[in-house]
Amino acid sequence: MNRVAVTGLGIVCALGNSVPQVWDRVIHAESGIAPLPDPGNPAYRFANGAVAWGYNPADHFSDKELGMLERFAQFAAVAARQAVAQSGITFRGELADRTAVITGSSVGGQFSEEEGYKQLYRHNNPRVGPLTIPRTMSNAGASRISLECGTKGPAYTISTACSSANHAIGQAFWHIRQGTVTAAIAGGSEAVFAEGLLRAWEAMRVVSPDTCRPFSKDRRGLILGEGGAMLVLENWEHAKARGTEILGEVVGFGMSSDAHHITQPDMGGPSNAMRWALADAGLPPESVHYINAHGTGTVANDCTETASIRNVFGTHADKLLVSSTKSMHGHTLGAAGAVEAVVTIMALNKQVAPPTANYNEPDPACNLDIVANQARPASMETALSNSFAFGGLNAVLVFRANN
């Protein structure tokens, strides 16, 4: 089986428009959560969000291109450009044929869909824009990346709500490991701040009225975030032969389904996903040093995730560093796994455990070392990144530092 190197990272989120920017804010526990530019009328039950504050579409695309590309697809393309540039890889000839693009997105292009509905139902105008379909389709990001980069191998999009990006990265990892492809651009993107979608989240009553405080006793829910992140994954020997810098390694992937409830979390599914990811990596639980938790900041997730971690790791759970960086970049839904993969690889690369920001008080039901409010230098070789979705779909990645 082939080893799988990470040779490029790209990101756009509330914390910035590049990996160095985002990482700098992460290690300083700076939150990208702030009042929404449009508070809604009547106001949403939640006032804050993790908007991609510094992102200006015109910096990256022409007017003509923007007419074709929804915000979520723009995030995917911009993140991919960064990752490919860092990797220094060029997709020509056989390599182009043997490079995959696999993206995650929970809902695709909501703005265009809602605009179509407004025309149809509010303005009684039966003429819906001709680009609504290509703008809205969940694979618009994957298609744009493939078009821009000239990759001609497998390309598809996975939609498993908040696990989408982890499922996408996991599939790309397996494709390269088994030799189906030589390289892949994989990750996820999401643009959630569309009015109809925000109203739907409001009605779910899982969004915090103030901020995201994962594992803190006074946590009141998640904070919605937008953005995109992409990884260039590459056959280890191919990357070595090119002489490019290897930022880290993907070593395991596990996925499971709760078969329990459509929205309530359960301990069984997440435990299985972590266990199977470690088995896939051929590593014992004791080899793990850091977990980038799903850690949404809802009452139910954080205590169930804690119980799952204790279930899998036993007494080793007390030695783990566990943090939820959603406290800073928000819950980016279909992009979450990718944003957190970037953070996790940087953590291994820089040997610094990212903090859980906004933490106020311990919760006995979340009694792990959650790296409260301050990043911590630590010797870390292996890390997990957890994603657990509504619908009970779980996906866990295992990363290793390249020492």
């Binding site: 039950r45 009605a203 779910m204 009553r205 009225p209 009141r220 829910g221 409830h261 459509i262 929205t263 309530q264 139910a300």
Partner: protein, 90 residues
């Protein structure tokens, strides 16, 4: 339904909302039933609260969700919010 809302009327309407959202006969729901007995989980609860907000034109705060465990809780909660409202249904 008249504009005048007295005690029994509120209970009856709450029960009807629960029956409609849960797709169960209203006769199977009494004021003394707990949500657990009616097999109402957290997602059902959100759905019921949404229905109650529409039925009574009220806004139910998130904080009230956790204490909502029975039909009686729902009726009492709605009664307080309706009473706090200005207008003919107060």
């Amino acid at each position: 339904m008249t504009e005048e809302t007295h005690r029994d009327d509120i209970a009856e309407r709450v029960i009807r909302v629960i029956a409609e959202t849960q797709k169960i006969p209203a006769e199977s729901i009494s004021i003394d039933k707990t949500f657990e007995e009616l097999k109402i989980d957290s997602l059902d609860g959100i759905n019921i609260v949404f229905g109650l907000e529409n039925e009574f034109n009220i806004s139910i705060p998130d904080e009230n969700m956790a204490s909502l465990r029975s039909v009686r809780d729902a009726v009492e909660g709605v009664r307080q919010l309706v009473a706090a409202q200005p207008g003919p249904t107060a």
